[in-house]
């Protein structure tokens, strides 16, 4: 049995990717399970989805804690202590990372000893579909790594996406981009062993009464420590030559991330700006540009 785990952020398409892969494998004659980890759905929040593929009947249930293949749709999750995409990956397994970096660079950067495959899905999505929606692209990459046929993938995309995407043209662009990714990935021979990776840090919490175990937060206003800045695909950048200091961007920012400096010019807290770009759209002077983020090319996704 092949066990795959997808890691993405809400809105990127991890859930749909796992579904498309499942359908493709099913159409290719396999027994299949696919399902997301249930959680409150939020754009930007870490999302996990699972696919099991087997020639035999699948009797296993529940989340996959020991995957053979991990598909990382959002690179910033690799350093997120809550997501931990590499957790439980079997020795000899394969890690796919959506990044402009080479596999070797990613291996070094994230200290991965297993086989790494990389492709800049975000760029392909933006170039070929016009949006950083990566479900079909990630499904294509996963299908290729899992050894699923191209025709089955094509049929699965049609079957699963036609219910979600009403525009025929966008659906075709998705399929085209997916097949491009399918061909761009070099298939690998995979031999995984069941042994668990070392250094896994699992903490067992004992049962306590409600008064002890209920989480009381005694701090005030500490969410900026979460640093939601790594949700961005584009960052807003101000052109102070055009800025009229009208305060529109400050009033329009849902996060309250935009402040003004001593001279009255606005600037963003990039550590937490989620990149919604309301500011850029609302700016009457058109003084705010959107610039594609390259999280991987800087320290901790800050610049």
């Amino acid at each position: 049995m092949l066990r795959l785990r997808f890691h993405g952020r809400g809105g990127q398409g991890a859930k749909v990717a796992s579904r498309v892969l499942g359908t493709a494998a099913f159409l290719d004659g396999y027994n299949v399970q696919d399902f997301p980890l249930y959680g409150a759905e939020k754009r930007g929040a870490p999302i996990t989805a699972f696919t099991r593929i087997s020639r035999e009947n699948i009797m296993e249930r529940g989340v996959i804690s020991d995957p053979d293949i991990v598909i990382v749709i959002d690179e910033t999750l690799l350093s997120d202590p809550k997501a931990m995409p590499l957790s439980g990956l079997k020795k000899g397994g394969v890690v796919f990372v959506n990044t402009p970096q080479s596999p070797l660079e990613s291996k070094e950067r994230y200290s991965i000893t297993d086989h790494v495959i990389t492709l800049d899905l975000t760029k392909i999505g933006l170039d070929m579909i016009g949006k950083p929606v990566l479900s079909s692209l990630a499904a294509a990459v996963a299908s290729r790594i899992a050894g699923i046929g191209e025709d089955a993938l094509r049929d699965a995309l049609e079957k699963e996406l036609s219910g979600i995407i009403s525009d025929r043209g966008i659906l075709e662009k998705n399929t085209e981009a997916a097949l491009y990714c399918y061909d761009a990935v070099v298939p690998v021979q995979m031999k995984t062993t069941e042994s668990i990776r070392e250094g896994e840090n699992v903490i067992n919490i004992p049962f306590e009464t409600a008064r002890v175990s209920s989480p009381a937060i005694n701090a005030t206003g500490n969410t900026p420590l979460r640093r939601t800045g790594n949700w961005r695909v584009f960052r807003p950048v101000w052109d102070y030559d055009l800025c009229t200091r009208c305060m529109t961007c400050v009033a329009r920012c849902p996060e309250g991330c935009i402040q003004v400096n001593e001279d009255g010019y606005p600037y963003a807290d990039y550590e937490n700006c989620k990149g919604c770009l309301i500011c850029a759209r609302e700016c009457p002077a058109k003084a705010i540009n959107d610039v594609r983020e390259m999280h991987s090319q800087s320290e901790e996704g800050e610049l």
Binding site: P224, V250, P254, R281
Partner: protein
């Protein structure tokens, strides 16, 4: 508190009482509403939050708030507010809390709680003339669980439980409840609709509400990028279109007497608003559903005619 109305966004209080880094979606219209509400309300408040998207704002060990926050089940936030208000009153009466240190009790819920599950406990709280604020951010479905239809879902919207297609090409079959009128029938001291796209109007309404003891209720239309299906950057422009097309009237009611606080000089066609959202895409593609579009426009026209603001 200053009761002279502010005139521009430059006069909005600069203090941020809700900090960044929340788990809310990028471009959340409800969050923008809440940010301005908290600027208007100040720091001395207690939020009583019914289960909704915004219960995820405070997740152990993080909170974006400078104030206290209490989580209740979906149906009973106003009942929770009654308990908090009573506790504060008793502490003041016993001399254990300086009246200067008193807190405003603020209920915060989504439309699922306000329009559906929490309607009876809200009715009870208004009936008892509980001294509290109520902020409902209305994104017109159960957004937190994947956008299922609620009593606030407008006619013809696609939701997870009203997918258009086959025998029912319309999407949601039912009309949105008029929560403003339901609440207004209780004659609360202050009731208003607000929008994240009109922060000056919003802040002024909170300032005006301040003078009244008893229920002060606010319903905010709240643009929802993942649920409605639009790019997060359009969040404010869509909220604005809802007002400019007449779909979301900005109004207030003092002891039951209703006044509109902003009437567009010329109403834009509702289509301008609908066509920007994936949840209404089935009305335009693959075939244009002319009769549905007409009936939505007619419902809006009827509202404004009834209020003698459209001939």
């Amino acid at each position: 508190m200053d009761t002279i109305p502010i005139r521009s966004i430059r006069e909005i209080p600069p203090e941020e009482n809700m900090l960044s880094g929340t788990p809310a979606c990028a471009g959340c219209g409800g969050l923008l509403t809440l940010r301005h509400c908290l600027k208007a309300l100040g720091e001395k408040i207690v939020i009583v939050n019914a289960a909704s998207c915004f219960t995820l704002l405070s997740i152990y060990p993080f909170t974006p708030f400078k104030n206290s926050w209490l989580y209740t089940a979906m149906a009973c936030a106003p009942a929770g507010a009654q308990g908090v208000r009573d506790a504060l009153d008793i502490l003041i009466k016993k001399g254990k809390l300086d009246p200067e240190e008193d807190l405003k009790v603020v209920v915060l819920t989504g439309d699922g709680s306000a329009y559906d599950m929490g309607l009876s406990s809200t009715s009870g709280a208004i009936y008892r003339n509980l001294d509290f604020y109520y902020i409902c951010y209305d994104n017109e479905a159960y957004g937190n669980t994947g956008f299922q239809q609620s009593g606030a879902t407008p006619f013809a919207s696609r939701t997870a439980t009203s997918p258009p297609g086959g025998a029912r090409p319309t999407g949601a079959q039912l009309q949105k409840k008029d929560l403003f009128e339901i609440w207004n029938s209780h004659r609360p001291p202050y009731l208003a609709t607000i929008s994240p796209a009109y922060p000056v109007d919003l802040v002024n309404k909170f300032r005006k509400a301040e003078q009244y003891k008893g229920p002060k209720l606010f319903i905010s239309h709240s643009s929802c990028p993942p649920g409605w299906g639009f790019d997060p950057s359009h969040s404010v422009s869509l909220a604005k279109l809802a007002v400019e097309t007449g779909i979301w009237p900005l109004k207030e009611s003092v002891h039951g007497k209703v006044e509109h606080t902003f009437v567009p000089k010329k109403f834009k066609p509702v289509e301008d608003y609908l066509k920007e959202q994936e949840r209404f895409a089935h009305l335009f593609k693959p075939v244009r559903q002319e009769d549905i579009l007409k009936s939505i426009q007619e419902t809006v026209n009827e509202y404004w005619r009834k209020h003698k603001l459209l001939s």
